[in-house]
């Protein structure tokens, strides 16, 4: 056996000279330890400084959260929703002559910062709220409990479903004080607020509050508390008014029941006496929807969300702001900032948009005169806020299916609402949902960031089955007639049977980031490839090269159009390239043609790749724009600005 070459040549690592200290620095250059310095002192100092820094940073990360009075224990948490039965009796009920009217409302609890709460209403109302909130500076630590109520539309004489919301604002950092009650009937603002609960309420307590209740009108409220069942607090009191308009308001007898964590479980306001007496009883109920037989929302698409565009060559451009109507305050623009998330269009023609202030979803009616406005007499040329939905967390995903809007939040829950503002269901999951759930008939398939797959009945919120992909997902799932296709970040493409969640096929891919169905194919954006796979077997049918970063995909009748930062192109079902153009920021199609948006223009492109019409559409500083199909035209929404551009 010949000696190995490596043995005959000293290896670098065994070379003695390599192991000796480098000649230019033979000695350490740090100083010799100072004899007088205790050995433990440096360690102690460093440990103490580190501990101080750690605790200081922790304290800093918690500052500014405001104070919570003990009375806040009686309030429901942020995002809690409940149904209430509202009974109004006019005239003397004791003699049997009173006229009774029963309706149901859906209510949501929002716990907001004071300034933030003032920004969830119109500028006019918000400005008036600043005084009772004592929010003289931006760092005001006042806290607000907001209750929004929407009529569910039942009972003789009850308001129809979808009527504009009622909002009640309570200041809660020093007790519970009613600041404002704004609804279709008008707005009452109390300065300071009517003290419903003191800071630390106990049975036997009595308290009073006085203030103004509008121009020339002052109020005085005297309340006292006694114990009620289940740890609740029964509060009774009287509220009287003085001033020029006091006779029209009259004194009120108040009865309240506050329960820990549940809020105001019942409230009775009695005004007047004899024939002019009005008694309003509002109580939490769990039977609102079954008792009233409210029709389920439609899951079908409408002309707003499907169907071809009418005449894209003849569109005109319009820009609309967002406003809110608050009777009694004048309404006006809404000082909110949108969340960087694409709004969704409901089959009813309403637009649902997530905004930062209040973590609300605004349900917007289209400008008067626009298709779908429903004849509402809103502020001209503005999208009008009709509901504020408050799931109680920052939204992570927003999707619409017919007249149902589904929102996922940082609270790891999915919440569904109808177009009328009623909460359909709420389902807690194991992690957040960041991709729009796929829909198949009346079920949706949602995938959480933990890789769990949930199939949920869209109307009831009932969980059909649950599965796991084993890794965090990287793309929104898509559904075909019988299966849902998922992509995870470990590079696995999986198809599950929608009926039972069983695995149909699985393929290893590279970096899947987008999925789209295209007839019997599923289109996968996989790294720098655009793959078409057979949705039944998962087999790769064709592959196209993606140049640039993917931006959008639109499916037409016989071809799929893909836009990247560098190019856009159309490929038919056989994988043949049909045309190629420059890239777009985003594009959307109507099944026949596509509209591509770039920094300067909106281009309508036919299926053959020809440009039918070019419209100016200059981008503004810092914004990213989303294109939404809207009836015969398009909406252009911004991640920064609240206004909505329209082509139609």
């Amino acid at each position: 056996m010949p000696p190995p070459a490596a043995a005959s040549v000293p290896s670098e690592r065994n070379s003695p000279e390599r192991n000796s200290p480098e000649p230019d620095s033979p000695e350490p250059d740090w100083p010799e330890p100072v004899p007088s310095l205790p050995r433990w002192l440096p360690s102690l100092v460093i440990a103490v400084v580190f501990a101080l820094v750690a605790s200081g940073l922790y304290a800093m990360s918690q500052v500014g959260r405001g104070t919570q009075a003990a009375s806040s224990a009686y309030l429901p948490a942020d995002g809690v929703g409940w149904n209430a039965r509202v009974t109004t009796v006019r005239g003397s009920s004791g003699s049997g002559g009173g006229r009774q009217q029963t309706g149901f409302t859906f209510n949501e609890s929002a716990r907001l910062g004071g300034i933030e709460a003032s920004q969830t209403v119109s500028t006019a109302l918000g400005t008036r709220l600043l005084a009772p909130l004592e929010a003289t500076s931006a760092d005001s630590a006042t806290q607000v409990w907001r209750v929004t109520s929407v009529e569910l539309g039942s009972g003789a004489g009850a308001a129809p479903a979808g009527t504009a919301q009622r909002s009640r604002m309570y200041r809660v950092d020093r007790g519970v004080e009613l600041l404002a009650d704004s609804g279709p009937g008008g707005s009452d603002i109390f300065e300071p607020g009517v003290r419903e609960l003191p800071a630390d309420p106990h049975p036997g307590d009595a308290w009073s509050s006085t203030g103004t209740a509008g121009p020339g009108l002052t109020y005085r409220a005297d309340m006292r508390a006694r114990a009620a069942d289940a740890g609740c607090l029964a509060v009774i009191g009287r509220m009287s008014f003085t001033g020029p308009g006091a006779s029209s308001v009259g004194p009120r007898q108040l009865q309240r029941t506050w329960c820990p964590g549940r809020g105001l479980v019942s409230a009775i306001d009695q005004m007047g006496s004899g024939r002019s007496a009005v008694s309003v009883t509002e109580a939490i109920t769990t039977t609102a929807t079954t008792a009233t037989g409210i029709a389920p929302p439609s899951l079908a698409d409408s002309a707003f969300t499907a169907g071809p565009w009418a005449a894209p060559q003849g569109w005109s451009r319009s820009d609309h702001a967002i406003s809110v109507a608050e009777p009694g305050t004048g309404g006006g623009p809404l000082p909110v900032r949108p969340v960087a998330m694409a709004p969704v269009v409901l089959a009813s023609g309403q637009l649902v948009r997530a905004v930062r202030q209040g973590r609300d979803l605004l349900v917007l009616d289209p400008p008067a005169g626009e298709p779908g406005s429903g004849g509402t007499s809103g502020v001209a040329a503005t999208w009008r806020v009709v509901h504020r939905l408050h799931p109680g967390a920052d939204p992570t995903v927003l999707a619409a299916y017919g007249d149902v809007v589904v929102v996922g939040g940082t609270d790891r829950a999915l919440t569904a609402y109808t177009a009328t503002g009623r909460r359909l269901w709420r389902l807690s999951l194991d992690d957040t949902v960041s991709n729009a759930p796929a829909r198949s008939g009346s079920v949706i398939v949602a995938v959480t960031a933990a890789g769990s797959v949930f199939t949920i009945d869209l109307l009831s919120g009932r969980l059909r089955w649950r599965a796991s992909t084993g890794s965090d997902v990287s793309a929104a799932p898509v559904a075909t007639t019988g299966e849902v296709i998922l992509a995870d970040r470990s590079g696995t493409l999986s198809a599950l049977r929608i009926s039972d969640g069983s695995l149909l096929w699985q393929h290893k891919v590279d970096q899947p980031s987008q999925l789209e169905t295209f007839g019997s194919l599923v289109i996968v954006v996989d790294g720098s490839n655009l793959d078409a796979r057979n949705s039944t077997t998962g087999a790769l049918v064709w592959r196209q090269i993606l140049r640039g970063s993917w931006r959008a995909t639109a499916v037409l009748a016989d071809r799929v159009v893909v836009a990247t930062t560098q190019q856009s192109f159309a490929v038919d079902t056989a994988g043949r390239l049909r045309w190629r153009r420059h890239g777009y920021d985003t594009l959307v199609g109507d099944g026949v043609q596509v509209a591509g948006l770039s920094d300067e223009t909106l281009e309508v492109i036919g299926a053959d790749g020809s440009v039918r019409r070019t419209y100016p559409a200059t981008i503004r500083n810092g914004e990213t724009r989303q294109l939404l199909r809207y009836g015969p035209g398009l909406l252009v929404c911004s991640t920064v600005y609240t206004d909505v551009g329209g082509f139609g």
């Binding site: 690592r13 000796s20 350490p28 750690a54 922790y58 500014g64 960087a340 890794s471 090269i545």
Partner: protein, 633 residues
């Protein structure tokens, strides 16, 4: 106990222990940072950094638990949410990391001092000026405090630059930097203001700070991607080498053939399975063509480097992981720096085209893109590495030359699609490359068999190559075996890579250099690990790159380029040793420092070969001195 001592008692166990010792324990023993007379105050800093590294790794691994239990906060603009209670921990790690970097750079070269000072001041400015815009009255003057602290930091750096390490520097710098971060927001009350307006500003600023330093983590993550290939090659080669020692004994030679036959059958089954599941669309002729060209290039480059090295002879395959470890970080730095430079070019061109509607600028803007320039830079870097590999080979550093040369080829391969203008679906499929390697091994083995020259040593060398081939085919599992358990893809790979790199690649920090003393080197090594784990923790908690970098993607890139290159180089050395009638196992097996005399004698008796005691091996640990072309000094 190492080597093959004690084989007569529990031969299999001793064999496995020896393999693990050689492939795992020895590199850690030689490559870890060692407290060899560190100055006062360095050890507690290292303990703090190691502790925070453990916290960061724990946050990454336990991120599914945290995400499912703790309140989440949305990161506006990043499109993701992170558990709110982890925010202050991320912030703490961030400021400690910046402080460690600043302390390390304090007595280093001027460019390092500037870089560290920029990182520190950027963080202080991000936080210190966050709420100043909305401040009113006297609070507006609070802006003076972060300015004073930034000035104080710069003054501190200027004063201490000429001195040497002192124990109080770290706590002083920590106090200044944290002061710059917290004082102004607390005095202005900007966090309270933001909350009143509906914004939780602490997570936003924390993430903004993380995003600003994420690019620095890319080289670390690319280098971490090499670790699995490093361990795979090391374990396989040492298993082969020690196995060949066993196989040398006449009584055990037949076992070498039996085991090799088993390996061959397993590899054939694996190959058959891969062929049955061959995707003709994804891996059509353009991919096969590319892979064949790359394989030929690898053969040509490897053979050329062997030829250039001439009399210095081939290196041992077990030396290659160490060589790859040495070049991984510099190559990662080069890839990142070139991409950053390319991005800067794109931004400048876009900016100029906005200012001036000149047709040339418009056309330039349409041609230049981040993707295109990224590919161009990879091609340029690949060619540069090939040139460097030639120089290394001529200097007799064949192990480094092979790793650098094969890395150069792999960089060209990943840019293959760009070379066709994006018109052909060409691309490298490592499985095709691996298949070709298997075919090559079998052809060599068959030829030797027909020539009746297939000795037990050669068959073990070929089997070693086959095992490498098999493990390479199963690299998805090998690189991320517990990904499914953790639920976050790639976390295990990156955590393992970063820790392995710290444990085996820190020898550089145990010796002073002309520009960096040991304390600075130790702190830099620690900062490197902490940075990688911090970014990993963040992206794991956020579940996507969240405006930072996708740790998994860069680690996979490192695995693809550096890992594949290392395995290709190992193939080259193994096949070379077989064809040149040189057994891979022959070099000495160094006794361990703690080796007992009777074990050593036993080893020699059993092995039948007398190992030459190597004083260097029992003295100071093996050197990982970085070659001149990649020396960061």
């Amino acid at each position: 106990m190492s080597g093959i001592s004690g084989l007569n008692r529990w031969p299999v166990l001793d064999y496995l222990r020896s393999v693990v010792t050689k492939a795992i324990v020895d590199p850690i023993r030689d490559g870890r940072p060692r407290d060899g007379g560190w100055p006062a105050g360095l050890r507690p800093v290292v303990i703090i950094v190691l502790g925070l590294s453990g916290v960061a790794a724990g946050m990454a691994i336990l991120s599914p638990l945290f995400r499912s239990r703790w309140p989440m906060v949305m990161i506006e603009g990043a499109g993701s949410a992170i558990p709110r209670p982890t925010v202050w921990v991320l912030l703490l790690i961030t400021v400690v990391l910046i402080t460690v970097f600043q302390a390390a750079a304090l007595h280093g070269p001027w460019w390092l001092r500037i870089l560290a000072t920029l990182a520190s001041t950027a963080t202080m400015i991000i936080w210190g000026f966050a709420g100043v815009v909305g401040a009113t009255g006297l609070r507006r003057w609070v802006v003076a405090l972060p300015i004073l602290l930034v000035a104080g930091l710069i003054l501190f750096v200027a004063i201490r630059a000429r001195g040497s390490f002192r124990w109080w520097e770290f706590p002083a710098l920590l106090a200044i930097i944290v002061g710059g971060v917290v004082i102004a927001p607390l005095l202005i009350g900007s966090f309270g203001t933001a909350l009143a307006l509906g914004y939780d500003e602490v997570p936003l600023l924390t993430v903004q700070t993380l995003q600003s330093m994420a690019t620095l983590a890319i080289p670390v993550l690319i280098a971490a991607g090499l670790s699995v290939a490093e361990v795979t090659v090391s374990l396989t080669v040492w298993a082969g080498r020690l196995g060949s020692r066993v196989g040398e004994r006449r009584a055990r030679r037949q076992w070498a053939f039996v085991i090799s036959a088993v390996v061959l059958v397993l590899r054939l089954i694996q190959t058959g399975y891969q062929l049955l599941h061959w995707d003709r669309v994804a891996d059509g002729w353009p991919v096969i063509f590319t892979s064949v060209v790359v394989a030929l290039l690898l053969v040509v480059v490897t053979a050329g480097l062997f030829r250039l090295a001439g009399s210095s002879g081939p290196p041992r395959a077990d030396e290659l992981p160490e060589a790859a470890n040495r070049v991984a970080l510099p190559i990662g730095v080069a890839i990142t720096a070139l991409v950053v430079a390319a991005t800067a070019v794109v931004v400048v061109v876009q900016f100029l085209s906005v200012l001036s509607p000149h047709p040339f600028l418009r056309s330039l803007r349409s041609v230049l893109s981040n993707d295109a320039l990224s590919y161009v830079t990879r091609v340029l870097l690949g060619l540069t590495l090939l040139i460097i590999s030639v120089r290394q080979a001529r200097r007799g550093r064949l192990d480094s030359a092979l790793v650098i040369g094969t890395t150069g080829v792999l960089l060209l391969a990943v840019a293959a699609r760009f070379l066709t203008g994006g018109r052909l679906p060409v691309g490298l499929n490592p499985d095709v490359l691996n298949l070709l390697a298997t075919v090559m091994i079998m052809v060599v083995g068959l030829r030797l068999l027909l020539l009746r020259r297939l000795t037990s040593q050669r068959v073990i060398a070929l089997s070693t190559a086959l095992v490498l081939s098999s493990l390479f085919s199963a690299r998805d599992f090998v690189s991320d075996p517990i990904g499914a358990v953790i639920g976050v893809s790639g976390v295990a790979l990156v955590v393992f890579g970063l820790i392995w790199d710290l444990l085996t690649g820190s020898e550089w920090a145990n010796h002073p250099g002309p520009r960096l003393a040991v304390p600075a080197r130790v702190l830099l090594i620690m900062a490197k690990t902490l940075l990688g784990l911090l970014i990993l923790a963040y992206v794991s908690l956020a579940r996507n790159s969240a405006g930072a970098v996708d740790a998994d993607v860069y680690a996979q890139l490192g695995d693809l380029i550096l890992g594949t290159a290392l395995i290709a180089a190992a193939f080259g050395v193994l096949l070379r040793s077989v064809s040149a009638e040189q057994a891979e196992h022959e070099p000495e097996l160094e006794p361990e420092p703690e080796q007992e005399p009777e074990s050593e004698s036993g080893s020699e008796a059993e092995g039948g070969t007398t190992s030459t005691p190597n004083p260097a091996a029992v003295g100071p640990p093996r050197s990982r001195v970085i070659a001149p072309v990649i020396d960061p000094d």
